[in-house]
C-alpha cells in the first residue's frame, strides 16, 4: 500500500526523524492561509499523488508570498500526473539546504535481508544513480534479527564523507529509518533528499513509504492512511473479495485461477495479437461466487470486448467450475463474448456443461487465446 508524502513524513516524525513540518491544502484558499501561517520566506507547494516524477511534471512549485502560494496551488490542484489527479498539495516552509543526500530502506531480495542505502546524490532519481554510478550508493545489510547496528549506520555516514561531527546525527536518522521500516512493516522507506541545513541540522525534506499489504492487519494506523482517491476502485473492490486484480490498457478481459497462470494467459493473449484488459486471479477454488465477482470486475471496464476464462482444474473439479460459471452467468449480465478454457480434472464434462450453456469451451490456453482475440475483433 502506498501513502502520500505528507503521510510518510508523519510516520517518520512519529519515529523521531526530523521532517519539514507542513500542512495539506485541498484548495488554493487553504494553501494561501497555510503559507501565511508559516510566516515570511519561501514555501514549497507539492502535489500529493501516488506516483513519482512530480517535479518534472510541474507538480512542485516555490512561492515567495501567500498570493504566490495560492496561485501555485491553483495551478497544481487538478493537474494530471501520470494518470493521477492531484487532489491535495502539501505546503511546507522552504529549507536552507547546504547538502543533499539519499537514504532508503528496502528488502534486498537476493540476500533475503533488509538493505539500507545512502548516497551523496540526494534529490535525484536514485534508480538512475544505481544504474549509472552504482559506486555512489553505499549499502549496509541489516542483521536479520538484530537490525541495523549503530556501527553500520556510522559506516554509511563515513562512506558519505561526512565530517566527524555530523556522523552521529546521520547514523541516528539511519537507525530510526530502519526502525520505522521494521516497526511499521514497510516495504519501502525513503528520504530523498535528506538534507543538512545551513545551520548544520538534519532534515527529511521529502519522504516516501509503502507498506506490506500482508502485514496491514497489525497496523490499523497505517491502514487508516489509505487514500481511496488514489486507488483504482475496481482493484479495491477485488481485494475485498479476495481476488487479485490489476487494470491494464487492452480490451480482452481475463479471469484465471492462479497468479502465474494469469500472467501466462495475458502473455498468450498478446502472443495472439490481442491486448489484455486486466490481470485477474480468482484464487484457488473458482467457486460460483468468485467467478460472479470476477465477471463484475471485468465487465466494469467499458473497454472490454471479450472475456477469456482460463481455469486449470486441479484439486477443484472441472465440472464444478463449469457449474460455477453457469451459475455466475445467471447472476451477472455479460454482454461480450466469452471463451472458456477448462482443463484438468473432469474437464470434458465441464466443457460439455459450458457448451450446453452456449459458451465456447476449449481445451488449451493457446487455442482459447486465439479464439478470444478473434471474438474481440469480430
Amino acid at each position: 500500500m502506498n501513502v502520500h508524502e505528507y503521510q510518510a513524513a508523519e510516520v517518520l516524525a512519529a519515529h523521531g526523524i526530523p521532517v519539514n513540518a507542513g500542512q495539506v491544502a485541498t484548495t488554493p484558499d487553504e494553501a494561501e492561509r497555510i503559507a501565511r501561517d508559516l510566516g515570511s520566506g519561501v514555501v514549497a507547494i507539492k502535489a500529493q499523488v501516488h506516483t513519482g516524477g512530480r517535479g518534472k511534471a510541474g507538480g512542485i512549485k516555490l512561492a515567495r508570498s501567500p498570493q504566490e502560494a495560492r496561485d501555485a496551488a491553483a495551478a497544481i490542484l487538478g493537474m494530471d500526473i501520470r494518470g493521477h489527479t492531484v487532489r491535495k498539495v502539501l505546503v511546507v516552509p522552504g529549507a536552507d539546504i547546504a547538502q543533499e543526500f539519499y537514504l532508503g530502506v528496502v528488502l534486498d531480495r537476493p540476500n533475503r535481508r533488509t538493505l539500507v542505502m545512502a548516497s551523496g546524490e540526494g534529490g535525484v532519481d536514485i534508480e538512475e544513480v544505481a544504474r549509472e554510478r552504482p559506486e555512489r550508493i553505499h549499502r549496509q545489510l541489516a542483521d536479520p534479527v538484530l537490525g541495523l547496528h549503530a556501527y553500520q549506520a556510522r559506516q554509511l555516514g563515513f562512506a558519505l564523507g561526512l565530517p566527524a561531527d555530523k556522523v552521529n546525527g546521520f547514523a541516528a536518522i539511519a537507525q530510526r529509518l530502519y526502525a520505522t521500516y521494521a516497526a511499521e512493516d514497510a516495504s519501502l522507506a525513503e528520504i530523498n533528499p535528506l538534507v543538512l541545513t545551513g545551520a548544520g541540522d538534519w532534515l527529511a525534506l521529502d519522504a516516501k513509504m509503502s507498506f506490506d499489504d500482508n502485514a496491514l492487519f497489525r497496523h490499523p494506523s497505517i491502514e487508516a492512511l489509505r487514500d481511496p482517491d488514489e486507488e483504482n476502485a475496481t482493484e479495491l473492490e477485488a481485494r475485498r473479495g479476495g481476488i487479485s486484480f490489476v487494470k491494464l490498457d487492452g480490451d480482452i478481459g481475463c479471469i484465471v485461477n492462479g497468479a502465474g497462470l494469469a500472467m501466462a494467459t495475458m502473455d498468450a493473449v498478446k502472443l495472439h495479437g490481442g491486448e489484455p484488459a486486466n490481470f485477474l486471479d480468482v484464487g484457488g477454488g473458482a467457486s460460483a461466487d468468485q467467478v460472479a465477482r470476477a465477471f463484475g470486475l471485468v465487465t466494469a471496464d467499458p473497454a472490454v470486448r471479450a472475456i477469456l476464462i482460463n481455469i486449470f482444474g486441479g484439486i477443484t473439479r472441472g465440472d464444478v467450475v463449469a457449474q460455477g460459471i453457469r451459475e455466475a452467468l445467471g447472476r451477472v449480465n455479460v454482454a461480450v463474448p466469452i471463451v472458456v478454457r477448462l482443463s484438468g480434472t473432469n474437464a470434458e464434462e465441464g466443457r460439455r456443461l459450458l457448451a450446453e450453456a452456449g459458451l465456447t469451451a476449449v481445451d488449451t490456453m493457446d487455442e482459447a487465446a486465439a479464439q478470444v482475440v478473434r471474438s474481440a475483433v469480430a
Binding site: L107, R109, P110, R112, R113, T114, E127, A130, P144, V145, A182, D185, S187, D212, D213, N214, A215, F217, R218, S244, V246, L248, V256, N257, G258, A259, G260, L261, A262, M263, A264, M266, D267, A268, V269, K270, L271, P276, F279, D281, F312, G313, G314, I315, S343, G344, T345, T364, M365, D366
Partner: protein, 290 residues
C-alpha cells in the same frame, strides 16, 4: 531417484485439523504419501486421514520419526510453525501458507539457514515425486514418473506445464514449486543444484516470472554448474511495472525484474526459453535429443 521427497518420506502435517490441512492430508494419503502424523495444538488423540494428531511437533517427531513437515496454518501463525518444525529437528519444511509478512520471513529465513534445515515456500504448492510422495496441494493425477526435474515460482502455471509434459510422454523426477513470495526458503539456484546432482533427472524445466532476480541468479548458476539441458518459461511479459501481479514477489520495481531481462539472461546461459507453456515439451524433447 528424485530430489527431497520420495518413498522414504515420513510426512507430518502442521495444521492437520484445519479445513485446508485435513483436505490435503487426505489427498496426499490417497496419492500414496506416507503421512505419519499431524500437529494441531490441543488436537492430541484425534486422527485425520488415518494419521495420529499431536499437540506439538516435538511430540510428533518423537512418536513418528517424521522427516518432512508441511504447513497449512494461517499466515499469522505460520512463522511460529516453521520455527517449531525446524527447532524440532525436521530437515525439510514445506510451507504452503500465503500472505506471511515479509518482515516475518526475514528472520525465519536466517534461522532456517543457521539451523541447517531446508524450507520450501512459503506461498508455494509444495513438491511431488511422482509415484512416491506428494507433499503439497498439486493435483497428483497430472504427474507421471520420468526424467524431467521441474522447478517453478508458480502454482497452476506449473500444473499447466506438468500436464503438457505428461501428455507428451515426459514424466517428472520431481516437480517443485518454490513459491511466489519475495523471501522464500529455497531458490531456483538451490533446486538446480539438487537436480544437477540427481541421477534420475535428465533435463530441467525452470518456470519463472517477473520480480526479483532469482532467474538471473539461476542463469549464472546454469552457465557455471549445470550440465543437463534446461528449458525455461517466464510469465509476465505483458505485466506493467510497479504493480504486484497476484504473487507478493511478482512485481517489476525500479525498472528491474522484467520478463525480458530474465529471458535474455536465461538464453545467454544456454537455456531454451519457451514463448508458451505448450512449447516446453517440444523444446525439452529437442534438448534431450541432442
Amino acid at each position: 531417484m528424485s530430489i527431497l521427497v520420495d518413498a522414504s518420506t515420513r510426512l507430518l502435517v502442521q495444521g492437520i485439523t484445519g479445513r485446508e490441512g485435513s483436505f490435503h492430508a487426505t489427498q496426499m494419503v490417497e496419492y500414496g504419501t506416507n503421512v505419519v502424523g499431524g500437529v494441531t495444538p490441543g488436537g492430541r488423540g484425534k486422527t485425520v486421514a488415518g494419521a495420529p494428531v499431536f499437540d506439538t511437533v516435538a511430540d510428533a517427531v518423537k512418536e513418528t520419526g517424521a522427516n518432512v513437515s508441511i504447513i497449512y496454518v494461517p499466515a499469522r501463525f505460520a512463522p511460529d510453525a516453521i520455527y517449531e518444525a525446524v527447532d524440532a529437528g525436521i530437515p525439510l519444511v514445506v510451507c504452503i501458507t500465503e500472505g506471511i509478512p515479509v518482515n516475518d520471513m526475514v528472520p525465519v529465513y536466517a534461522h532456517v539457514k543457521a539451523s541447517g534445515a531446508r524450507l520450501i515456500g512459503p506461498n508455494c504448492p509444495g513438491l511431488i515425486t511422482p509415484g512416491q510422495a506428494k507433499v503439497g496441494i498439486m493435483p497428483g493425477f497430472i504427474h507421471a514418473e520420468g526424467p524431467v526435474g521441474l522447478v517453478s515460482r508458480s502454482g497452476t502455471l506449473t500444473y499447466e506445464v506438468v500436464d503438457a509434459l505428461t501428455r507428451a510422454g515426459l514424466g517428472q523426477s520431481t516437480a517443485l514449486g518454490i513459491g511466489g513470495d519475495p523471501v522464500i526458503g529455497t531458490s531456483f539456484v538451490d533446486a538446480l543444484g539438487l537436480f544437477e546432482a540427481d541421477p534420475a533427472t535428465e533435463a530441467i524445466v525452470i518456470i519463472g516470472e517477473i520480480g526479483g532476480s532469482d532467474e538471473e541468479d539461476a542463469a549464472r548458476y546454469i552457465a557455471e554448474h549445470v550440465t543437463k539441458p534446461v528449458v525455461g518459461f517466464i510469465a509476465g511479459r505483458t505485466a506493467p511495472p510497479g504493480k504486484r501481479m497476484g504473487h507478493a514477489g511478482a512485481i517489476i520495481s525500479g525498472g528491474s525484474g522484467t520478463a525480458a531481462e530474465k529471458i535474455s539472461a536465461l538464453e545467454a546461459a544456454g537455456v531454451r526459453v519457451a514463448e508458451s507453456p505448450y512449447q516446453v515439451p517440444g523444446l525439452l524433447q529437442a534438448a534431450l535429443a541432442g
